[in-house]
Symmetry: C3
Subunit: 364 residues, 3 copies
């Protein structure tokens, strides 16, 4: 049964009741490729490996002008809408660049005040309007579950188009998790990959959707130990820990970040998510920044093959002294986001094999 | 005498005194093609038929990648400015997409606060600046007659460029009328076209420039009956009725919308234009939404070959229950806007014959 | 020693202490081409002549579709970021168009409220983020010296990209000076070029960075006399006059603009820069607009081979009566900005020779 047919047979209320893990087939093409990308849970080990491999191929092909020209010829006849009603420059530019790499003509709707004509119409009608003009919708909105609902809705219309979730509420930001996985995979390429590594998460773990998504995706790998270092009020959620216990995965919860650095293969720093504070400054109380701050001195504790990651933007989580250290991979991590988003989009539009063939012929 | 020469010989005050119907030659190239597109009155039956035909060809050519590549090669060396100081997402995106289809590189100026440097300079200078960098100006402004004045002005400079009016004040929105005509033409393609059909307009007819323009363009077709259903305060203007009487066209004015549905070939719903209210909510008084609302039940009254149209955005004019009915063509109507705008721009730049030739060779 | 190596060996404090004239080598590629473009002082006569020649070639090549296609194939694999946090439409559009001419896919960050996610991160991190996704950064910011500091910073990273200053504070706007030079060079092409000409500057000379930069660049030409006409409070700075004296160049300072018109080969009008006023309207005091206003009558005083220039936007500096006079070159000057910016970018990316070869083969 096709993805579209499945969607048509399920009303939204029933769909919403499905556990996350059971929704994956609804976002998948019959070939197994993703059609929509809305939740991190829709990716399994095989699809993660494919995306990482394709990202690397795209990255290498793009190094030459002739390779770039090949890539940008792939989707030249398609148009993408970047619908970002929640502020975001980094994710926006990363998707914008990914679209350009593949030859898409991107258009954007960002400032809601510009689109005031649309006031008074439902959000469903707005998204249908985008689907009238564009072949792909990439959206970031503050409303939890919105991208998913729109994916359900648009799949049932006469003119369905793929929807990519670029962040919805506190909840899902699946492509951030993908770029984190790609960064870990690249970093440990010559050390047997992600399997068997230890990842130390540090910072505001209670509210960072990045950490929550990545923690889940790491379950796809073998024997990855997860350590969560945070003050008690910002510690990782019990639901995530339950998920780790269910999977029989080793983990540790601590407030002593500094002590754990030497154990980690990857240190994943995150910032205080105080934009979600009910009262301004609330979450900063009792949070001693210096305890969750990676300094130049900490570089000595970190394994020579270890890496420091950060989803950026940073505030005071990593000293700029670390920026020149080869283990500081956060700038590369940011650029990886562009590559894996290009890989994701190319896969959605079934151009992955063409890219792989080009790579085999020209770049090996 | 060329269009430019004609403009040079007429000062603005004399031009402004010309009846609308007499202005057409000033916006026309010597080949008969439009150069500027500023008022609905400049199109006659022949040019409407040409634009509709070309739209269909572009739409079909664009279905294949090789066809899209052909289309986007046509104007790759040209740049378009979309100057939208009045909020509009739908019209903007439709033009933006039309430009991309033809290979234009579009640029935009929308938020007037961004362009504050331009404060202090006259609007004429702003438009001349655009003409310094761009080859086409598409503009939407709140000022009535502004696009027309700029077309007159720019035609007299050293570097004239075509100007397309994407909506000026309460007055003109010619490309909306074109897309409505194209939608009617497509809908009745196998029923002998628009000639002889009955169009039922419903809603805020007093202030909807869409209806006013479309009503006028329908005079180009034979025996089209027009019915206007609205509460008295929002009924169609006497000037429009006079125009119909002058043309000897059958029409009807009523407040009983529901009763007329079964008579109509096309039902054209419009929303309350309350953004023009002097006092907020003023025009909603005495307007019973349920009387001018197309429901699922009304589908039964509508002829099996009839269509329901709406310029969008909708609020409460059409129930979403109707969305899946094949006679509900408003989403297709929206997409038609993109095609006919591409056709218009291609015609302005004299690429219509090349497209037609390509179509004859490859798509028939 | 490469530009990058030089930057690495100098910390910012030492760099900042260097006189402007000594900074040029740090922005230069080993081939002599500019890598960054941040200060007007980095251009010498030879590089100005090269840029002017290349601009003319690009301008002529772009006239044909096949030529445009050649130009836009040059940089199709590159992406440019236009980072404009200070309002500017003219400069922005000019750069945007220049990028499009060369085939760049431009992206933009303008409204700081959109990028509020970036709040909390340092400006250095923001620029590094751009360098993660883009191959060229064009920036306009209100902070003096910021573009220069970013050029220094980015040159020392793993992924340096060229930075072009599109205006920083009251200080530098080097590409405006380049387009002024190109306009003078084009205007006097058949009169032996810029050497030996007299340039009359008029208006707010104290604060116009345009005039300050152009005055300096004119020192690269032989025997150019400079006349400064302004009310005392807005007269040209003593530092500029000292620079002229040091170079042994003839100059004159006056408040009688009208009397000097007949002496000038080029009249360069500027507007009151009252956006820098500490108190609103402050600088307008004692400034009699009519004394520094070029009228239709003044056309008679101007030499038949003379030109009137203006960096635009204009307010009341030049009567619109002058617009049709062939000596009024300000609209052409504006368009020249697009051409010389394209030439600058092509040179930075070492595509200048390829363009020249194409020109020699096809356009001579």
């Amino acid at each position: 049964m096709t993805q579209r047919r499945m969607m048509e047979e399920l009303n939204w209320e029933d769909f919403e009741r499905l556990p996350l893990a059971q929704r994956a087939p609804y976002f998948r093409q019959s070939s197994g490729r993703p059609y929509h990308c809305v939740i991190a849970q829709q990716f399994d080990r095989e699809s993660l490996d494919s995306l990482c491999d394709l990202s690397t191929r795209i990255r290498r092909i793009a190094k030459s002008k002739v390779g770039s020209d090949f890539l940008s010829s792939l989707m030249r006849n398609k148009r993408a809408m970047l619908y970002f009603t929640q502020p975001s420059t980094r994710t926006f530019l990363s998707f914008f660049s990914a679209c350009q790499i593949l030859g898409f003509s991107p258009a954007e709707v960002r400032d809601p005040s510009i689109s005031s004509e649309m006031k008074g119409e439902t959000k469903e009608d707005t998204i249908r309007t985008f689907s009238s003009f564009f072949d792909l919708i990439i959206m970031r909105t503050p409303a939890q579950g919105f991208a998913e609902k729109m994916a359900w809705m648009i799949s049932r219309t006469e003119r369905p188009v793929p929807i990519i979730n670029a962040g919805s509420g506190k909840d899902q930001h699946p492509t951030q998790a993908l770029l984190d996985i790609y960064t870990l995979q690249r970093s440990f390429e010559r050390q047997g990959g992600i399997d068997g590594k230890t990842v130390l998460f540090c910072g505001d773990l209670a509210r960072g959707r990045t950490v929550r998504s990545l923690s889940g995706l790491l379950l796809q790998y073998r024997n990855v130990k997860q350590i969560f270092a945070a003050p008690e009020a910002l510690q990782i959620g019990e639901d995530i820990l339950q998920q780790l216990r269910d999977a029989g995965v080793e983990y540790e919860v601590t407030h002593d970040f500094k002590k754990k650095i030497s154990e980690a293969d990857a240190v994943y720093m995150t910032r205080l998510q105080d934009e979600w504070d009910a009262k301004p400054g609330e979450s900063a109380k009792g949070y001693r920044q210096e305890d969750y701050y990676f300094t130049g001195e900490d570089l000595r504790k970190l394994s020579p093959k270890g890496v420091i990651m950060h989803p950026l933007p940073r505030r005071l989580e990593i000293s700029t002294e670390c920026d020149d250290d080869p283990r500081a991979v956060y700038w590369r991590q940011e650029r990886n986001g562009m590559w894996i988003r290009a890989a994701l989009i190319a896969t959605i539009f079934c151009r992955d094999q063409e890219i792989t063939q080009y790579y085999m012929l020209n770049n090996r």
